[in-house]
Structure formats: structure tokens, C-alpha cells
Symmetry: C2
Subunit: 155 residues, 2 copies
């Protein structure tokens, strides 16, 4: 399917008080190429394998295919991944009828906090909380696959 998403920097920690849920995520990549990204993720007590294609020009929409797998399978596959594991906590925040996902990164990407919002179409409007910062949709530097190779602490 095609995923339509916009991505933003996060300007303050205020989002944490509004979060309904937070989940530990560890992920690695079997391919970091943006035209055929293959991601292995453990999110809470569930594993996933995800394939992403190249985005459209604005970077808003991207082919995405995902399959749940067991944590044990995900652990085995993580051990095959490229160096540069991503560790983060994902917070879910309700904003009007949308859910904003905020990722607080750790390890090599400590200090980076990114927000993502999934939309039904590119022009759909949504409520912007005041802790939402600069938009970075489509900037490959903020793709998690790129963060695994060129992490925030090197910027």
C-alpha cells in the first residue's frame, strides 16, 4: 500500500505529558537503499519485517509493505542487519482525529526527536500542537535507514 506521512522536528518535551502510550522500538536494516528499504523491527512484544519503496517528489507518500513476525524471528534477522541499530521510544499522541507518533531516539541518535503524522491524502489538514517544530518531510537525512548509517551524533 501507499503510506502518506508528514514528518516534523519536535520543539519541546511538552508532548510527553499528552502521550497516551509509549513503546520501546529497536530496529535494523537489511537494506538501507531508499528505493528498496528492508527494515526489521521489534516494537514492544511484536516483530515486523517491512519493505519501503521510493517516495514521490515531495516525500509525502511511499510504498510500504509490512508483515508481523515473532520477536524470536526478528532477533535472528536483526543479527544479519547492517551495523547501526536504531533504538527509540515511540509516543502516541491524539491530535483531533489524527494520531501523532513521536520518536525519541537513543544511542547514536540521542537528542533527536521526530514526529510523524499519517494522512489520508497529501492535502489533508490536521491540528498542529505547539510543540511541533520545523517540517522535514522527504528529507532523506531523517529517514531511519539513513539515521542508522549517519546518526544524529555525527551531524
Amino acid at each position: 500500500m501507499i503510506e502518506i506521512e508528514r514528518k516534523f522536528l519536535v520543539a519541546s518535551e511538552a508532548f510527553k505529558k499528552e502521550a497516551q502510550k509509549s513503546t520501546q522500538i529497536v530496529q535494523g536494516f537489511l537494506n538501507t537503499d531508499p528505493i528498496r528499504t528492508v527494515r526489521i523491527r521489534i516494537k514492544g512484544n511484536q516483530g515486523f519485517i517491512t519493505v519501503k519503496g521510493i517516495g514521490n517528489e515531495s516525500g509525502t507518500s511511499r510504498f510500504e509493505w509490512e508483515k508481523p513476525i515473532s520477536v524470536n524471528e526478528a532477533e535472528q534477522l536483526l543479527s544479519l542487519c547492517e551495523p547501526g541499530m536504531i533504538e527509540k521510544i515511540r509516543y502516541e499522541i491524539q491530535s483531533g482525529k489524527h494520531t501523532i507518533e513521536v520518536d525519541e531516539f537513543f544511542g547514536q541518535n540521542k537528542g533527536l526527536v521526530l514526529a510523524e503524522i499519517e494522512l489520508d491524502n497529501e492535502n489533508e489538514s490536521f491540528l498542529k500542537p505547539d510543540w511541533l517544530g520545523k517540517e522535514v518531510t522527504g528529507d532523506p537525512k531523517y529517514y531511519n535507514a539513513q539515521l542508522s548509517k549517519n546518526p544524529f551524533h555525527l551531524w
Copy 2:
């Protein structure tokens, strides 16, 4: 899991008369790197996503993880694969208690025929039919991922 396999060239077409079964296979790769190969396959009316790791020194055993997916999912994922689709017919031939899989390649690899036998351990013996040719176990040139980049017609 770890797969233990030996691979051989095929010296004649005699295997076709002994085949119990033949199935059309189309496959592509989201990553051809032998240390983290990601393969998308349509075999008959079933799709698969498969991840393979690096083999041991002799090339006999290799980590392999596979998940069935729908043909529709496989078709979408094939469109993201690296150039160099592999097309082949797989014949299954019973040889004593083992099944030998013989792949007859088409397209860019037309003329190549390879046999594979899965074993319980590296030293397990098996019945060798007289159409089995030279052993090529562990020769990366014969990995399907390599055949997609450097096909037989270029050798």
C-alpha cells in the same frame, strides 16, 4: 534456521524423465549481498519472502528464514527488486530418501541447469544420479542473487 545444501551442475537432460513434479519460479532480490540476501519469490501460486545469511567456509550451510506471502504481495515487492529477475522451472526428483531439486534457468540465464540437495548434516551421504555433474557448492557465482547481477549468458 540453518540450511545444509550441496549444489551441482547437471550433465544431461535425463533428470526430466525422473521428475515427479515441476513448478514455475520467478524471483528477484531486494538485496543481493550474500551476508544479508533478501529474496522475493513466486513459486507456482504461492509467494515467499526469504532472508539468507552468510554461509560457513565450505558454503554448505547458510542461515535461512522464509515466510509465505500472497502472490499479489510478491508481485508488488518484485517491482521494487534490483534489475535482473530470475526465471526458472524447478523439477523435484526423488533419489533414495532425498529430494533433488533441479533448476532449469531461462531468460538471461538460459542454458544453466543446477541441482541442489538438502542434507541433515554436512557429511550425510546420498544417492548420486548419473546426470549429476561437477559440484559447485559454495561458489558464489552460482548463487541466484549473483545470477541476477551477472547472468549465465555473460560468462
